[in-house]
């Protein structure tokens, strides 16, 4: 008798909680769910931070707040797979491979870069350290909800730990004086040696089979690499030249880690090989070739070439290389070069979610997914289109009609403070 009444009380309280947080229905927009074909005059209903209904003939709940968005376009919140907002810092100059360094321990959540990202329709970012190392540390996946600490905005794994990947780089950026590598051959050898050590460390753990006495000494670098080897932690690999791209794939095959290729300036030269390896690619669209040796052959053509080859294509800002507020134009430049509109919009959203292993929560507008979406004034591929509102987990985080938010979107005196935007005064090691 006692137990059922307790259950009933709980159910009653739950019902009260749902009733007090009323659903919101966005009515009349063209909705591009990415999971499906665009919906004209659609309805999007959100509740408790989640999408509860989406479609053309969806009934609007009686208690819902109705928002008229006729003439607007709604798309999923954008996923930026590679960003440097919030001043992420991982490895230092002491050695080329530092998997133990976490950008978690460096992020400034008050950096105005987060506001710029929201103004660009971005709702999820992968914050990464730089490319001046073969392995510069652990990245972190961040949801752009409001928060006072990095823990409060980081995606969490089931065990409560923060979710993220591992930043790696090859080519010219990690090359410098010892102990850093001086050649490509040395770069690969250093990385392989480290992964071999991690394989041995992992084997010791497996042999211990849960016996604490037999476990190897704790080693922060090895622990992180074990997560890479067992597929929990995805490698986000900076790479540009065609041969460097193939080197990444070679090492990936040898050690079996999961990898996302980033930048990939010469992807158009090895698109078939990339697709055959099932390696997803996060591209950056740059307004001219060059700026550094490895970007000599970068071309908008990367986007359609990878699509034709059947590779999974996403985009990233590499903010401060490109401004987070301008993320949408990457997709448009892809279409300019011949990418399909569908793949281009997918590249801003679902493809990125897949590359961060978050596609069960974000990347499309589907029932049950997080209520992360962007209200646009028009076609996402048009230069004339503006981001009107950005919503994260059912909370409006950017509103063009709000004067402070508009200032962030447009710039102006003091609008982007406090902020850290790197300035280039000449050639520097880059991203």
């Amino acid at each position: 008798m006692k137990r059922p009444s307790g259950l009933l009380t709980t159910l009653f309280l739950m019902a009260a909680a749902v009733a007090s947080a009323e659903p919101t229905a966005f009515v009349g927009a063209t909705i591009m769910p990415v999971a499906d074909a665009p919906i004209d005059n659609g309805v999007l209903v959100i509740d408790g931070g989640k999408i509860v209904a989406i479609g053309a003939g969806v009934r609007v709940p009686r208690n819902a707040e109705v928002v008229d968005v006729a003439g607007k376009v709604i798309v999923p919140g954008f996923v930026d797979t590679h960003s440097h907002i919030g001043e992420p810092a991982g490895a230092d100059r002491s050695s080329p491979i530092q998997p133990e360094a976490r950008v978690l321990d460096s992020i400034n959540v008050r950096d105005a870069g987060f506001k710029r990202a929201l103004a660009g329709g971005i709702t999820t970012v992968n914050l990464m350290s730089g490319s001046g190392h073969l392995m510069s540390g652990q990245t972190i996946y961040v949801k752009l909800r409001e928060g006072n600490s990095i823990e409060s905005i980081a995606y969490k794994k089931d065990d409560g730990s923060v979710d993220g990947g591992m930043k790696m780089a090859n080519g010219t950026n990690p090359r410098r004086d010892p102990p850093f590598p001086g050649t490509r051959g040395k770069s690969a050898a250093l990385v392989r040696q480290k992964y071999v050590a991690a394989q041995e460390y992992m084997a010791k753990i497996e042999r211990a089979d849960g016996d604490a006495e037999k476990m190897p000494e704790r080693d922060l670098a090895m622990e992180a690499l074990v997560e890479v080897l067992n597929g929990e932690r995805i490698v986000h690999h900076h790479t540009h030249r065609h041969d460097d791209i193939l080197t990444v794939l070679r090492l990936q095959q040898e050690f079996g880690f999961r990898v996302v290729l980033h930048h990939v300036s010469e992807a158009h030269r090895v698109a078939k090989e990339i697709a055959a390896a099932n390696a997803p690619v996060s591209l950056i669209m740059i307004d001219s070739p060059g700026g550094k040796l490895e970007a000599q052959y970068i071309d908008f053509e990367n986007a359609p070439a990878l699509e034709r080859a059947g590779a999974n294509v996403g985009f990233h800002t590499d903010d401060y290389i490109t401004d987070s507020r301008l993320f949408m134009r990457m997709a448009a430049l892809g279409v300019r070069a011949g990418m399909s509109r569908e793949t281009a919009l997918r590249a801003l959203t679902l493809a990125g979610a897949e590359m961060l292993d978050l596609d069960d929560r974000i990347g499309t507008l589907e029932r049950g997914k997080d209520a992360d979406f962007v209200i646009l004034s028009g076609d996402p591929l048009s230069v004339y289109t503006r981001v009107q509102e950005t919503w994260v987990e059912g909370v409006k985080r950017f509103d063009l009609d709000d004067p402070d938010d508009r200032a962030v979107a447009e710039g102006g005196f003091g609008a982007l403070q406090p902020s850290f935007v790197h300035e280039f005064h000449g050639y520097e090691e880059g991203h």
Binding site: I286, D287, G291, G411, G412, F413, L416, G430
Partner: protein
Amino acid sequence: MKLLSRLLTVCLVCGVSVSVMASDIAVRGDRVYTAAGGPIENGVVIVRDGKIAAVGPAGDVAIPDGMVVVDAAVVTPGLIDAHTVVGMVGFLSQDNDQDYLERSAAIQPELRAIDAYNAREPLIEWLRTFGVTTIHSGHGPGEIISGQTLIAKTTGNTIAEAVINPAAMVAATMGEGAVMSGNDGRNTPGTRGKVAAMLRTELLNAQAYAKKIAAAEDDDEKEPPARDLKLEVLAGVISGEMPMLVTAHRHNDIMTALRIAEEFNIRMVLDGASEAYLLLDEIKAAGVPVIVHPAMARAGGERENLSFTTAEKLINAGIPTAFQSGYEGYVPKTRLVLFEAAMTLPHGLTFEQALAAITIDAAKILGVDDRVGSIEVGKDGDLALYDGDPFEYTSHAVGTIIEGVQVSDRTK
């Protein structure tokens, strides 16, 4: 008579109408934006001997027999990049070819752009593929006076073939850019006050130099001063022959530039001008045009307060304004004024205003509007062809014509 008949025979043999030359071309556009009046639907532009011979609706302008005809959805004047360092720097950022900035002294107006400009630099082709036909390139910001600039077409194998003004402006910098220029403490400024003092001192020297020359011309008894390359150039600035292009981003640095322009009565063009929106009245009163920073420039350092709306505010205040590709030093090595102007469209600028800022208004600021910047009879036959709204990302540049020669037929 004999010569003429022989010429006619030759031309009959080669089967080409006598009047058609390599630099003759006819362009038909579904819509032609001339930057000199409203758009022409179903327009035709005739270029003869490199110059625009006729422009108007297809019904009014006949295409001569035998003339090569090119079609496009949209035709505009060849675009003008009002400030770049393309041609002065190798696109791969290698130490041996970054000739836009000499660090050995803070004031070196004697450095000529024509002695460094590489007409075969790959980024020149990149710019012209998108419809850019004229660029203002040369020494960049980073020293109080870094050197001279030039104006060139985005074609030609040599500087001689490309250039239309070999000594366009003297490039100067105010504020942090000039302060940080001092690399080793040798006669380089450490403060804003010192930047202005050094520049004013050198301009005073130039005034004195010009006076001595004038005095010697008036009086046979007087010897002219020994030739001084630096002071010769600055005397040209003092006399108003050569404008000074001043890169200044912060409002206080813009005011310093205007103060010096007034003191020495020099023709000035403001460059960058991130905080120009704070000083619309002052800039307008000074009669100084602005080559505004790229809309998509990084909002960092002394450009931390830049805005996508600056161009709109300047233009609607009646201040002559043009766009530039600018210089970032890394990736991207150059921007495209087409995309920089496009970025102002969602921020209040009209299509016609944005187009004018990369064509006729840029030509006026650079002093080359007698030759380029609009599709008008007598001007150079420089045209940009697109398959739709040129500013839309998903449109393409489909052809570029410089002085009647199709220099690009790529779709990009």
